[in-house]
Subunit: 190 residues, 2 copies
Amino acid sequence: MNLLKERILKDGKIIGEDILKVDSFLNHQIDVKLMNEIGREFKRRFQGEKVTKILTIESSGIGVACITAQYFDYVPVIFAKKHEAFNLDLETYEADIFSFTKNKPYRIRVSKRFLSSEDSVLIIDDFLANGSASLGLVKIVKDAGGRVVGVGIVIEKAFQNGRKVLEKENVRIESLAVIKSMKNGEVIFD
Amino acid sequence: MNLLKERILKDGKIIGEDILKVDSFLNHQIDVKLMNEIGREFKRRFQGEKVTKILTIESSGIGVACITAQYFDYVPVIFAKKHEAFNLDLETYEADIFSFTKNKPYRIRVSKRFLSSEDSVLIIDDFLANGSASLGLVKIVKDAGGRVVGVGIVIEKAFQNGRKVLEKENVRIESLAVIKSMKNGEVIFD
């Protein structure tokens, strides 16, 4: 998706060897117009697929997931919770995840009320890095007996092993920008 | 906003005396169609106001803020961060907040790159309870030298003192559903 790649080249900042900072349009400040183009592109990629729910993970996935849902007949968006709270159900589907940007493990949860064997779920997330978050979301859909339509990723870092991890689960992956390398402070797309 | 009130009566669950659980359409599963009606209503309430940015707080505010931004000429959405991460700027506007649902204090941060004295900011959040989160967002806009257009709230619990706290800051508040009481397991609107 050229518009997205151009934006990454213009506004993305590389930190160290493997972190791409896109906080000016994706995960701190959100460019809602760009999110609409992204939602439209996910619809094009998953054209013809039956989708009953979109599943993402707090916080960075929520904006893009909500906008994308508008292109899929306004299906409900569910975001997996990373933090415990009084108001979360006790009955949850869970997965353990290792955060790449926070360098620590955490558990994600989705209330059992919101996913079932009737669901065809499109998973949406901002990044595919080591694949841990997406894999956790796939596990949650499968634990609920639902079908994973695919995983839609805004930015994939192809030099990490997320795709390999997900392919073992036989899951279709559609990434809108695939980065092959970020060496010497330069983003090279696949 | 009748559609929202009806939905609260239908799907809201009261926990204890003062927590309203609306996780089936607002803050765990998100009804994107309803969010669009909410966005449209915020636009109606703030009609004629100049808005350059929408500011919210992770995670529950993000969905409604992004959808609402579409009704305000697709202005950027910024969400204040609750958690530290490698990829957050060191230069941030900050505020300390006390979480009602988590019963603990935390610090929110917004990168200084995203707010300035040029900005007219609409603050959007899912709940107004004790006012601590909204007050923190108001402080951040003012610290940046920006103008607070107003605070748009999906659900206000009028039996807590959030409105009083915000009115001291001379901030306009527009709440789409105002709950007067939740005694005996019954939601009574204002």
